[in-house]
């Protein structure tokens, strides 16, 4: 399953934006000498770092693919065939295992995604699917070259069921990839695509295992057959976890919309209060999957950053959403009193490292997680220096412009507006956020600061390159992109 966000990066970066569909970098413990951020539990000092934990998960991932394959070598085995036949069969088994594990990559396990960040996990999910499909497709191609008589199995009318299942699985996988890559060009609605994506994935994996069991070459042993069928049940269980069990939990913790506030820049803030529970506790910069229309079981949740302070005591949360011409246009019409659902919090776009200064770089509505960070710091009376470099199209559409001015009085905050179309009397920064802009407003050494970057891909790439130019290591910045896919 691919991520839920619309691709926004083809547009100018200042125009882009619903609240970010988050992709985050690993977080680190909030420094103890600054006190834990609200709603956080500070990881133990002895806890493994993101890198070691991330590598551990990668090893586990590989084990889930390769161990069931090599288990086929145990016990009684059928007579060996040629190298290429055996190789093609191994590719088929590996490809199916990779496809099955795709359900796990998007199952929203915080412990799994935290070391890598949501952006890496979702990007990996999308890219690895190409490898998996390539392996699955390579399986019959190698077989057809090695044993041309098998080409007749492509005739699904006359082929046995085990071959029909193989064809069904392969065609489903190809359809998944085509729809995921060209969803925008195919003009598929997100919800339609998502439902189709899930159904095709189940068909692909189900038909794949039916093909294996039907062929029965390696799965003649009951325990081997049980192992692979069990694996399939496990994969589908991962899907059930995120589509059935999680929504059940979310359903029991609804929120009520108490206000819909208009902001500058065609942006609307939903203010939501917990209904019959204490509310969730998030760290500033995190996000949640919001369901405004329908129940949590409906595949219509979209990820949005929390824009409110994490230090509030009444449990209310706010999400600020920009009109983009899709379902986000309906946000302004959401009636007060509507019941909505939030699955979260997720993401690791939060303050973590000891730093002499925090630098927030926002483009367009990428300001929303920054607002949560700034509001929380203000509520906590935090006086550490913060610089916000904020790119917008013009002065009139700067979301949260007035509140940022007010926050400058409450925090040691300097706001640097960068306008693409500034008014004639504008004396501030013009154009886009570049390394030169950062040099002009940040004191060296640049590697001593902690950076937070949120905006569309074009801006993100530019800022990441700028930070590289300023010799800022990757461990010193957190990035959050709009698009999951």
């Amino acid at each position: 399953m691919l991520g839920p966000c619309r691709r926004l990066d083809e547009r100018p970066w200042h125009e882009v934006g619903t609240a970010p569909a988050l992709v985050t970098t690993p977080s680190l413990p909030y420094p103890e000498h600054h006190g834990a951020a609200p709603g956080t539990t500070t990881p133990a000092a002895t806890a493994p770092g993101p890198t070691s934990r991330g590598i551990a998960w990668l090893v586990i991932y590989l084990c889930f693919i390769l161990a069931p394959l090599f288990a086929l070598l145990l016990g009684s085995m059928p007579p060996a065939r040629s190298f290429w036949t055996e190789f093609s069969v191994a590719l088929g088994y590996s490809g199916l295992a990779m496809m099955g594990l795709q359900f796990g990559l998007t199952a929203r396990f915080r412990y799994v995604t935290a070391p890598w960040g949501e952006d890496v996990i979702y990007h990996f999910h999308r890219q690895i699917s190409l490898i998996a499909v390539a392996l699955v497709v390579a399986h019959p191609i190698i077989l057809f070259i090695e044993r041309p008589e098998l080409v007749r199995l492509l005739n699904s009318v006359q082929a046995p069921w085990r071959a029909r299942f193989a064809a069904l699985s392969t065609y489903s996988l190809i359809a998944i990839v085509v729809m995921a890559i060209w969803r925008t060009k195919l003009r598929l609605r997100y919800e339609t695509w998502h439902v189709t994506h899930v159904v095709l994935a189940i068909v692909a994996v189900g038909a794949g295992i039916a093909h294996m069991v039907g062929w029965s070459f390696y799965l003649d042993d009951p325990w081997k057959r049980g192992l692979w069928i069990g694996l399939t049940v496990f994969w589908v269980g991962l899907l059930a976890y995120v589509r059935i069990f999680k929504p059940l939990f979310v359903l029991r913790r609804p929120y009520i919309v108490s206000e819909v506030r208009e902001e500058l820049g065609k942006t609307w803030t939903l203010i939501m209060r917990p209904d019959g529970h204490a509310g969730l506790r998030f760290r500033p910069g995190q996000f949640g999957w919001l369901t405004v229309f329908g129940s949590p079981f409906k595949i219509s949740a979209h990820p949005f950053s929390f824009s409110s302070s994490a230090a509030v005591s009444d449990g209310h949360v706010e999400m600020s959403i920009r009109e983009l011409g899709d379902f986000t246009d309906e946000i302004a019409k959401v009636p007060v009193g509507r019941r909505v659902y939030i699955d979260g919090p997720y993401g690791a776009f939060t303050m973590g490292q000891p730093a002499d200064m925090h630098v927030l770089v926002a483009g367009g509505v990428g300001i929303t997680p920054m607002m949560s960070i700034l509001r929380t710091l203000a509520d906590q009376g935090d006086k550490r220096p913060v610089v916000l470099v904020y790119g917008s199209k013009s002065w009139d559409v700067i979301t949260f412009r007035d509140e940022l001015e007010a926050l400058e009085a409450r925090l040691d905050l300097a706001v640097v507006h960068v306008l693409e179309n500034p008014p004639d009397d504008w004396t501030g920064e013009r154009g886009f956020v570049t390394a030169d802009v950062l040099r002009r407003h940040l004191p060296p050494p640049y590697a001593d600061h902690e950076y937070f970057i949120c905006g569309p891909d074009v801006m993100m790439d530019a800022i990441e390159n700028a930070l590289e130019e300023l010799k800022v290591p990757i461990t010193k910045y957190h990035s959050e992109r709009y698009s999951f896919v």
């Binding site: 390769l66 191994a90 590996s94 890496v120």
Partner: protein
């Protein structure tokens, strides 16, 4: 930068899986 990291992970994973599939086939043929 981070997407580049993800791409490298994908290439590494794919390479390992293909290599291990070849090992599987070799083991089958040899033993």
């Amino acid at each position: 930068m981070r997407r580049l990291l993800a791409d490298r992970l994908v290439v590494a994973t794919g390479t390992i899986v293909v290599a291990m599939s070849a090992v599987f086939a070799l083991v089958r043929v040899i033993t």
